[in-house]
Every structure is written in structure tokens, then in C-alpha cells.
């Protein structure tokens, strides 16, 4: 029953996986005039494969790979006849938002295609939100600044973490990289999206959460990599679903809208969703804001005991937002028997959470995490519980920052969708759903995406994340991701910056 991951874990292969759209969105556009003499110089020069020669004709086939002004040998300078001109793609700049600026979207797409950090041209480490992780930088020791690109080798650096640190009968679960997929329910995303994420998690030796909308049968082959969510609406939660998995997550609150329940609009309650949740087609579904059976910590303990009664070997994760007394919540959860405390900060969420909730309730995660980490350490129980943070994790750099703030690992969400070519248009909740076929239950829109493609894109992205994390650890002179936990001294906040070497 234990040690499912004891045998050497083998990382999945990277397979280049191109965009599913004919013209992927890039930062730049290259214009070629009729003056072109088809000499092929640009094809030779461009290190990024932007230009291709096909049947004697030169074409700009991969404009999205162009690094533009960052290029050392720009093709438009090399062109003997001056037929090439570069300009910024106006479509590019209308994508995304401050938290996910177009550069981050494009670099994530790059990772999902090539499984590597983008070479140049894209700011792939932070967004433009002006706060949160975007004002934090990792502080590297000056002496070790050597390579900037990953050389691909692990050098024996461990980035896997154990999720069960209690000395109990539950599964000994290890994940091979310090992140797993956060909950997105059936209904809020398509079954293809859900399966892509879970299959990727299985390949990567980690987990992915079902969210609250039930546990579709299609997920059955991947049971060992599924976290099933028990949320306040209890939709789709059955004894069977709890018994199938190794990790059960209680969702008490969502960082994006703490203190508010869930609400699935009537339009999204299609026959498929209604069947999964056993509700009525076309009617909105409400998740109450609290668990009506849990109004205090002894109720919570009873609730955890209940899950353990149904599945004695399950790990219990408790997902909470970050109220000001989050440290108390964390330690209370620990004493109630939780294995994982999952703090969900407010930077995440799709377009559905009300702005007023996102901006005004609860603490920012970068304040909550050190508070919890310190409190659990003082309490003497920090090493018996896994702390997972989530909410707006976009890059491997965010992962490193969060871990340095005191988490053991993180939970991803939107990043997975971006790997599937989400453009952050914030229209998840409206009409028939996502124009890109990701967050939809519409059968036609769902056809926009292929399962193998989706799986590989996410695998690629996370492999790139992993390699980048290893690079970061190397530069910090660390051998294990555990060494980074709580090392706030490895961070610098730009608001309080002194002269430091930062990345």
C-alpha cells in the first residue's frame, strides 16, 4: 500500500508540441515585401526557425518564435535587399492582464511547446501586477552566477517532496516535483482539459485535483494521481470517490473569494454537468460558503475523522484561504489530523471571482505564508505537516519564491490552462464558455482540443519548470528543494531593495 513511488521514477519525455492554431500569437510580426529575392539568408541566420524555405520560396512560418529586438543577428538587418521589417504584433499586447501579461503567456506557451525557458525576447519570470510575487526577487549569491541556461542535468538535486509527514497509517505519498494541479471542477473546465491535467500529473509523478464538480469515470485509470475534493456543496462526492483516491482535499475556502460560496451559472449546467452533480439542467448551482456541518474546529476534526473512516489510508488536505488568523487555522487543522495544509491566496482564480472579494478579503499569500511557517515552527509541528500554497503561481520562479516564503510546495491552476493556450480573456463564465475550448462544457467548443496534445503541453511545461527550479537551486547552492523552505533571506522585496544581486 505504501511506497508506490519507491522504484526509480522516470521522467516523461519531452515531445515538441506545437500550437493547435494555425497562427500562434507572437510578440512580433515580420513583414516581407515583394523585394525579397528568396536568397535564404534569413533562413540561415535566424536561430529560432522563424523563416523556412519551402519549394524555393522563403516564408515567415513561425513569426511567434521571433525574439524581435533581442535578436543578436536580426534578419531584417541581414537581408541584402531590405525586404524584411519588424514590428510589434498589436494582437499580442491586448492579451492577458497585469498578472498574466502577454510576455508570460507567450513564454508559458513556449515552455509548453519546447519544454524549455524561452531563449530571449520574453520576460518569463514575473508579471506586471506591481505587487505579490512580482515585487519579489530571488537573491542569488554573487559568486555562483554562472550559467543562465539550464544544462539539463539534475546533478543529484532533489525537487520531490513527501506529502505525508505524520507517523500514521495513511499512504506514504511522494511527488516528484514540488507542485500538483489544483482543483478545477468538471463543469468549469472541459473533460479534455481535466484529463489532460490529470494525465500529465500521472506522467510527472504528481497529482491533480478534481475540484468540486464530481469525479468523472474517465479519470478512473489515473486514480492514484487524483486528489478528490470535498467542497461545501458536496457535489459529486460519494463514498466511492473518496475511497478511490490517495488524497482527499477539503475545500473550506477559495483564495479568490474567501467567505463566499461557489456559484455555477445556470447556462453552464448542461446535461453532462447536471448528471455528474445530480442536479437540474439549466439551474444555477450553489455551494454554500461554509460547510454546514463544520462551524468550529472540533467539527472540523470530526469531519477529518469521517474521511478517515471512509478511507483510512487517505491523506487529508485542508484547503483554506488566508484570513488574518490563518496561522490558527493551520495549526488547528494540523491538530485535527490533516496531512496537508493548503493555503490559497488571492492572486489566482479565473474570471469568475468578484473583484470586491479578490481585492478586499484576506491577506496576501506572501504575508500569510511566513506567518504560518513561523507559527508552525514555533509550535514544533512544522516538520509533521506539508504546507502547500496556491493562488497565482505562474512560473517556476513563483514556485521558488513561495517555497522560500515557507511552503513545501505549490498548487498550480491557471498556468495549466495557459499551457493549453488560454489567453486570459476572462470570459470563462459567459455564454457557452471558453472560445479556446478549455473552460467549456459545450461539445462543439470542446472539440477544439485533443487530449494527447493537451497532456503533452502540460508535461512539457512542467518539465521546463522542473529544470528551471533545479537551475535556481544550483545557483543558490542547494541540493534539495527542502533546503529552500522558509528561507526568506533568499528573497528580496523590491520595495525594500538595497544593493543586492538579484535575478
Amino acid at each position: 500500500m505504501n511506497s508506490s513511488n519507491q522504484q526509480a521514477f522516470e521522467l516523461p519525455k519531452t515531445i515538441k508540441t506545437r500550437s493547435r492554431f494555425r497562427n500562434p500569437i507572437g510578440k512580433y510580426r515580420l513583414n516581407r515585401t515583394d523585394a525579397c529575392i528568396q536568397c535564404g539568408k534569413c533562413v540561415e541566420t535566424c536561430p529560432y526557425g522563424v523563416h523556412v524555405m519551402r519549394r524555393g520560396r522563403v516564408l515567415v512560418e513561425n513569426a511567434y518564435r521571433c525574439v524581435g529586438v533581442d535578436c543578436d543577428e536580426p534578419c531584417h538587418d541581414m537581408c541584402p535587399v531590405g525586404a524584411l521589417s519588424l514590428r510589434r504584433n498589436p494582437d499580442f499586447d491586448v492579451m492577458g492582464d497585469f498578472r498574466w501579461p502577454p510576455d508570460l503567456l507567450a513564454s508559458t506557451w513556449y515552455m509548453a511547446e519546447f519544454s524549455a525557458m524561452p531563449p530571449k525576447g520574453l520576460a518569463y519570470k514575473t508579471g506586471n501586477s506591481g505587487g505579490g510575487f512580482d515585487r519579489l526577487r530571488i537573491k542569488f549569491p554573487a559568486s555562483t552566477v554562472t550559467s543562465t541556461a539550464s544544462d539539463g542535468s539534475d546533478d543529484g538535486i532533489n525537487v520531490g517532496i513527501d506529502l505525508n509527514r505524520r507517523d500514521d497509517n495513511a499512504h506514504r505519498v511522494r511527488i516528484e516535483m514540488p507542485f500538483y494541479g489544483g482543483g478545477m471542477s468538471y463543469g468549469s473546465v472541459s473533460i479534455t482539459t481535466m484529463l489532460s491535467r490529470i494525465r500529465a500529473a500521472a506522467a510527472l509523478g504528481t497529482f491533480c485535483c478534481t475540484g468540486e464538480g464530481g469525479y468523472p469515470d474517465e479519470l478512473k485509470p489515473y486514480d492514484d494521481h487524483v486528489i478528490t475534493q470535498v467542497a461545501t456543496g458536496l457535489f459529486g462526492v460519494r463514498e466511492e470517490t473518496i475511497q478511490r483516491v490517495k488524497i482527499v482535499e477539503f475545500k473550506y475556502a477559495q483564495g479568490a473569494k474567501p467567505g463566499l460560496g461557489g456559484h455555477l451559472l445556470g447556462e453552464k449546467v448542461t446535461p453532462g454537468v447536471a448528471r455528474m452533480r445530480e442536479a437540474v439542467v439549466g439551474y444555477p448551482l450553489f455551494s454554500p460558503f461554509p460547510f454546514h456541518s463544520v462551524y468550529s474546529v472540533e467539527d472540523h476534526k470530526k469531519h477529518v475523522d469521517w474521511i478517515k473512516a471512509i478511507n483510512p489510508e487517505a491523506l487529508v488536505s485542508v484547503k483554506v484561504s488566508t484570513p488574518t488568523d490563518v496561522d490558527m487555522v493551520a495549526v488547528g487543522s494540523y491538530y485535527a489530523g490533516a496531512h496537508i495544509i493548503h493555503l490559497d491566496g488571492s492572486y489566482g482564480g479565473t474570471g469568475a471571482a468578484p473583484e470586491i472579494a479578490k481585492k478586499n478579503i484576506a491577506m496576501p499569500i506572501e504575508y500569510a505564508l511566513p506567518k504560518v511557517h513561523r507559527f508552525l515552527t514555533e509550535e514544533g509541528v512544522r516538520d509533521q505537516v506539508t504546507v502547500i500554497a496556491s493562488g497565482g503561481v505562474r512560473t517556476p520562479h513563483d514556485v521558488a519564491k513561495i517555497i522560500a516564503l515557507g511552503a513545501d510546495g505549490v498548487c498550480t491552476g491557471t498556468a495549466d490552462l495557459v499551457a493549453l493556450e488560454c489567453i486570459r480573456c476572462h470570459n470563462c463564465e459567459s455564454g457557452r464558455g471558453c472560445a479556446r475550448g478549455i473552460a467549456t462544457t459545450d461539445p462543439e467548443l470542446m472539440e477544439l482540443m485533443d487530449l494527447d496534445w493537451g497532456t503533452q503541453r502540460i508535461v512539457n511545461m512542467f518539465l521546463a519548470w522542473r529544470a528551471e527550479l533545479i537551475r535556481i537551486l544550483k545557483r543558490l547552492g542547494m541540493k534539495d528543494i527542502k533546503e529552500l523552505v522558509g528561507r526568506t533571506d533568499c528573497l528580496v522585496h523590491l520595495d525594500y531593495r538595497e544593493e543586492v544581486q538579484s535575478d
Binding site: 497509517n169 461545501t232 456543496g233 458536496l234 457535489f235 462526492v237 460519494r238 463514498e239 466511492e240 473518496i242 475511497q243 445556470g266 447556462e267 448542461t270 446535461p271 453532462g272 448528471r275 452533480r277 445530480e278 442536479a279 437540474v280 439542467v281 439549466g282 439551474y283 444555477p284 448551482l285 450553489f286 455551494s287 454554500p288 454546514h292 456541518s293 462551524y295 468550529s296 474546529v297 472540533e298 467539527d299 476534526k301 470530526k302 475523522d305 469521517w306 478517515k308 473512516a309 471512509i310 478511507n311 483510512p312 488568523d325 496561522d327 490558527m328 487555522v329 495549526v331 488547528g332 491538530y335 514555533e378 509550535e379 514544533g380 457557452r432 459545450d442 461539445p443
Partner: protein, 865 residues
Amino acid sequence: MVQGLPSMVNDGLEAEGGCGVTGFACSIPVRGRHIFEPSKQMHNRGNGRGGGIAAMGFDPKMLGVSEEILREDYILQIAVLEDGVMDDLEARFIDPFFRVDFSERIPHVDDYRNIEGLDAQPPEVFRYFVRVRPEVLKAFMAENNLSGMAPRRAEDEFVYQNSFNINRTFYDATASQRAFVLSHGRNFFILKIVGYAEQVVQYYKLDNFKAHVWIAHQRYPTKGKVWHPGGAHPFIGLNEALVHNGDFANHHSVAEYLMQKHLYPQFLTDTEVSVLLFDLYSRTCGYPLEYVIEALAPTMERDFDELPADKQRLYRAIQAAHIHGSPDGPWFFIIARNDTRHDRLQLIGITDTSMLRPQVFALHDGQVQVGLVCSEKQAIDATLKSLSAEDPRVGDVADRYWNARGGSHTDGGSFIFNLDKSPDQPLERRLTCTDKFGNEITAPAGQSPYLPGRVYYLVEGDDKDRFDISEFFNLQRPDRLYAYIRDGIEMWDYADLMDCLKQIRGWARSGDAHFEVALSALTLLMDRRYPTCDKKRRSILQMVNHTVETILRHFPSLAREDVKSTYRLVDWETRQFFRAPAYQEKVLIIDASLFPPEGDHCDSRLLAEAFFRGWRRFIVFGLKGQRFHGCGLGPDSGGVQIDIYGSSGDYMGSGMDGLSIHVHGDAQDQLGQIMKSGKMVVHGDVGQTFMYGAKGGEVYVMGNAAGRPLINAVGRPRVVINGTCLDYLGESFMAGDPHDGGGFVVLNGMGFDDQGKVHPLPSPYPGSNLFSLASGGAIYVRDPHEMVEEQQLNGGEIVPMEEKDWTLILPYLKENERLFDISIEDDLLVVNGESRSPIGVYRKVRPRQKTAGLEKDGLEEWVDE
């Protein structure tokens, strides 16, 4: 006095988790050991980081003082956390102000480590019987312009302020803690430690110490490595001790409200704030208890509208003045109060307006009267059992059990047990119980209890043929055996009944077939309501329970290889011999009495394990609140049947998918959560959040459901509730179309009178919220007088019954009739003595029909595959 205090409210609130609370009031003083068992039963509601008890109403001899001193003096009790502070404290706060009539350092066991599980040194406690010196009081009254006030009230205030000063000097919740005042009221004291409540009793040697009222609290604090007893409950006003389960959301604003009245909390918990409110209203404002309760838990919504006009006027004024001090959020208070003005001891339970915490009240009447209130019913049962073991005049079943409906016009969400002096017996008091409005709750009149060992002795062998019951066993007719006893009860006395039960016990041991007849008949005696004539139902239940337990314990354990039996017993001692059923072994009887309530070694885990090994029929008995029965069996549990006897626990059948559970008695909270399929029958009431998120199943409840039944239920749950619910029935109900495989609830609104006859309740559904935000399913209410009204609905509508509705629910009502003997023809369809057609008796509540047009927005294109 308040100079130098922080002007801001200190928000460093100790995170107060929830907790377990229990209390009882008894007409005679009883020993401290009786608070021991119920406290232990609620271990899992605390974490051993804070426990406390209050005892009220003493025998003066036990304290070494005269009756007059006990009555008139304040008992100032001080906990010392740092050695050597008492000299200073006495010199500054006791000697100058008080006449000390008696003082002592209260005894305790020598070494706290001798008490198992206690790992923090409890404080030394000093007790002083004091009166304020007349000259000091005079000066105090002059100084504070209190000259017109009754001296006793001024003295109360002086004692109160002096304790505040002691705490201010010796106790700082965030810094050094040297000593603090545990209690200072009259005729009661408080003790608290870092540990469990029952360890207080052990450590301070209260096992044999007698008091009329005991309350206890198991705390579940979540903050801080260094716990201190000051943070444990109970907390004090002046003459009241309060324990609290819950955590309110507006601590800050309540604390500010208190500050406006110059009251400054010192212990940083919301419990202290609560009792300060209580003391403010009762002592300073001089409100009668009803007003105090209204100020704490205001009557809201429709309940307010239902009040008589004069009450509305009064309550509106109270709310206008005090709504900002009203605790908001989940809370439940148990208060022990010495109403010195009326020389009356009180045990009070108050629940919040939204009924967010579990609570159970019980009344036991007889030669010894007991009123009980606690978080979970098994604590009541444990108290009674403990009392009963010492004093046979106390039975181990109460006459009545009930829940309060918070902030309601029906009971006000509060019940009060009063203990008044009896003129002739110095150590006996008379117990009465009222609700907030003063309506009295009494045990059924004209019935006498069974008093074992006093009148009834039996001659062995003499009773062989007194009862002609052999044919029932030979013909396998438990129903006729049941009817025989039921009808016999009228003529027999308790001795006869005892003999009869004894004879049945003999039969039960003479083979499995006979046992089955006996068990079925005895179970019917527990489950059904029937006239008990001059006997108390609780006494009959007590006798039947004991008989059943004796019979069940008789079966061979799994360890024994030498006997063959269809029935096998497993208990805590023999659990390691646990194995799959051998040939012909069919039923596993689990004696749960010694199993822990949850965790790897609890009996429900054992039951699940037994299921996986092939057992299919289970009888569980001797329960003391053990949880999770029927959980963990998974989706292939069709054909499994579990019979539950005793005080069953929370989360029973939560997740059940196929099996059937019969609860012979009341059930508790969180029953049938996420239930998928199967059948559950409860021969009693069910607790909070019954069938939350359920997806299906067939459930029959003989009595009432507490707050929030069937919230967020989907799929096809089909439920018959014969009583009513506290409130919030079917909120966000999403169970499709009942005529197309969806779910529904039949709410009969019926009760049983004291002679077991079915009668309609005053209102089938008194709550303010019915079927709110529901999008599917229906509720069928037996409501011939059309008392359910639109105002109670939020998103629902009332429509007349149709023939097809009746056809739909009829089979369930027939099964209901079979299970509970609640007749469709003679009970449900009879209104004011006349038979009516079902269409005129039942009404249907369904979601308001969705507006036309929703179909047009493209939904019809979506093909369900």
C-alpha cells in the same frame, strides 16, 4: 479604575475553537464524579489544552462553613500561577477590604503526574469566604455616588471591581501571569486547568464533593504553545459561570460595545465577553432573564412577526438598545447562575439565532429531578447513567429530550432549569424547567418511575408460567409478543413487567429462533409509542434496554471455537479474534461500549472491516456516542443491515451507498451526509445537518430533525420526517423533478402525546426558512390548516397537491406506517376528527418555476450523450 488600560480593543483574540460543553442541575447535591463521565464522552470536542468545571449549590458542611456564611458570603477563589504571590495579593486586595470568614488552600492530589494524561501542573487554588467590610463598602458607595443603591448590589459591584483589579495586577493575558480570580460569586466556584475537564475533578479531589449544579467544558484552543488555565472556561460575571461552544464573528464590535459600558475583557476570549454581556444585562441593567436572552439572541425574521404585539414592542426596544452587543455567529452558552435575589439556582442553555451549534436538552423527573443540557446527547446519557449507578432513584433514560430553536417565537432558543429551595428539606431543591417565555416543560403527569431494589423482589423459579408467552415463540410471532406486553403494561406493575422481561430473557437464550422473536419484540417496545398508563416511559425503556443488552452480551464471542451460533459477539476485549464469518454464522453483534468514538480502533472501523471479510448483518449496542457507523463500506453494500442500539454518534451512514441502517432511538448530527442509496430508519429525532449533500436513499424519521436538514441535497433522496424541523429545511435542494426520478421530503408535522398517541403539532413547520434557493425536488407538507406561508419561502412556491403527487408519496407513507405505526387513514388524513382527502391535507412546496425563455438560449442544442 480603567485608567491605563489600552483604549483600543485588544484584538489579540485567543483563537477559540469550538468545544464540548455539558451541564446538569439536580434537585439534590450530587458528587463531582458525575460530571466525569459526560466530560469524558466529549473528549473529542476538546484537545486537552483547557478544561474547567463550575459547581454551584453546596452543602455547607462540605466546605467547612455555616449555612449562613455559605448563603451570604462571596466565595473568592484565586488561582496561583507563580509561587509566592499570595502574600502580596492578600495584603493588597483581600485584607484591607474584606472580612474573611473562612479561608483555605484547596486540597489536591500530591502529584499531578499521577493523573493519567495530565501534563501541565494545575494551579494552586486559594478560597476565601468574604464579605466587604462595612466601612469599606460605605466609602465605596460614597465615592461612586451609589448611596441610593441597595447595599448588597453595591457590595456585588465592589467584589466585581476588586477582582478586576486583582486580575489587572497579577494577570496579563499577553505577558506575565501570576494569579487570577477563578470565581467570586456566592454559593459556587470554578476550577480550571490545562487539561481535560474531568482531570479537574480528579486533581482537586472533587469525586465525592457534592453540588446541585455542575457544568464542564472541554476546550479546543488552537493558539499558542504555552496554554494557561486562565483561558479555559467557565468564565464569570458575578454570580454566573458560563461555558461556550462556538466562535463568534463580531468579537471586536462586542468588545467595543462593552467598552462603552466601561467593561474591559482581560482574558482575550469571546467567552469572557459573553459572560460580561450577561452580567451587564442581568446585574447592572437588572433585566429579567427573558430580556437578557433576547438581548443576546434576538428574535428575527418571521419569528419576530409571530410574536404578540406587546412582545414585539418590548423586543424591538431591547434590540434597538443591544443589537450591537449581540454575538453573531455560531455560539451556544451553558450558564450556571445563582439568582441571589430569588435564592434560586439556575442552569441555562442559550443557542444562537441561526442554530449553528449542536445542543440537546433533557429533563428527568421523579423523586430526584435532573435537568441536563449539552453539546451531544451521549453526554446526557452518560450523566444519567453515572447518576443512576449511584442513586437508583435516577433512571438512565430521561423523560424528555429536545432541541432549542434559536431566536424563535416558539421557545426563544433557550431553556432554564430552576432550582428553588424547598421549605422542609434543607438540602433538597425543587427543579422546574421553562423556556425563555416562561412556558413550563414538564414530564408526563401522573406516572411513577421504576425504583429498582426498593419494592420489587423476585422469587427465583416462581415466575416460570406467570406469563403465557410460549406460543409467541413457538409460532415465531414477535408482533404478538410485543402486543401482549404493550397491553399488559396497563394492568401490571413494574414487578410484573420485570418478571415478564426476565422470562423473555430466558426464552431468548434457548436458541436463535427464539432470540430473534425476543429481540424483535423488545425492539418494538423501544421503537414504538404506546400508552404507558401510570408508568413512566423512561422506566420501561430502561428495563427493556437492560434486558436487550443482557441478552446480546450472552452470545459467544468470536474467540470461542467450541460453540456454534448464527450470532457472534465481538467486543473490545475480543476484537483481536476478529475473523470472517464461518459457516452458518450470519450476524455479528458488536458490543461497542468500550470502543473509542473515532480513529483506527473505533467500532465503526471494525464494522467496515467485518463487512470486507464477509459479514452482512450487524447489531451494534452499548453505544456511547461512537461515530461513523455505516461509513466506509463503499458502493457495494446492498443487502447489509445494521441495527443500532444505544447513544449513537455523529456522521452515521454518511456516505452510505446501498446498506440499510435502523437506529433504535434518537440519532445525532450529520446523519446521512452525501448518502447515495440505501435505507435509513430512525426511531426518534435526528440532529443538525441531516443528509447534507445527500444524493439519494430512502429515509424515515419518526420524530424531528434539527437545523438544516437536506441542505444541498441533489439526486433522488426520498425522506419522510414525521415531526418537524428547527429551520432551513431543504436549502438549495436540487433534487430534480420528483415525478421523474427526483427527490422529495414528506413533512408530516406530527408528534406523540404522553400516552403515545399521534397528534398534529401546533405548526408543521415553524421555522422562517423553507426550501430557500431550491432548484429541484419538492416538499410535501401535511398542512391542512395552511399554516406554511409564502413568507417562509425564498424561491419556492406553494401549489396544491395533485393526484399524481399523492400516488408518488403514498408508498413511502405506507412504509412509514409499517415502521412507526403512524396510520395514513387514522392519523395523517384525519383533520379535527374528520377524514379528509389527501389533496386537502397535504400541500406541495416546489421551486418557483423558472421563467420561460431559459430554454431558448441555446440549451436545447446541447445533446446529452
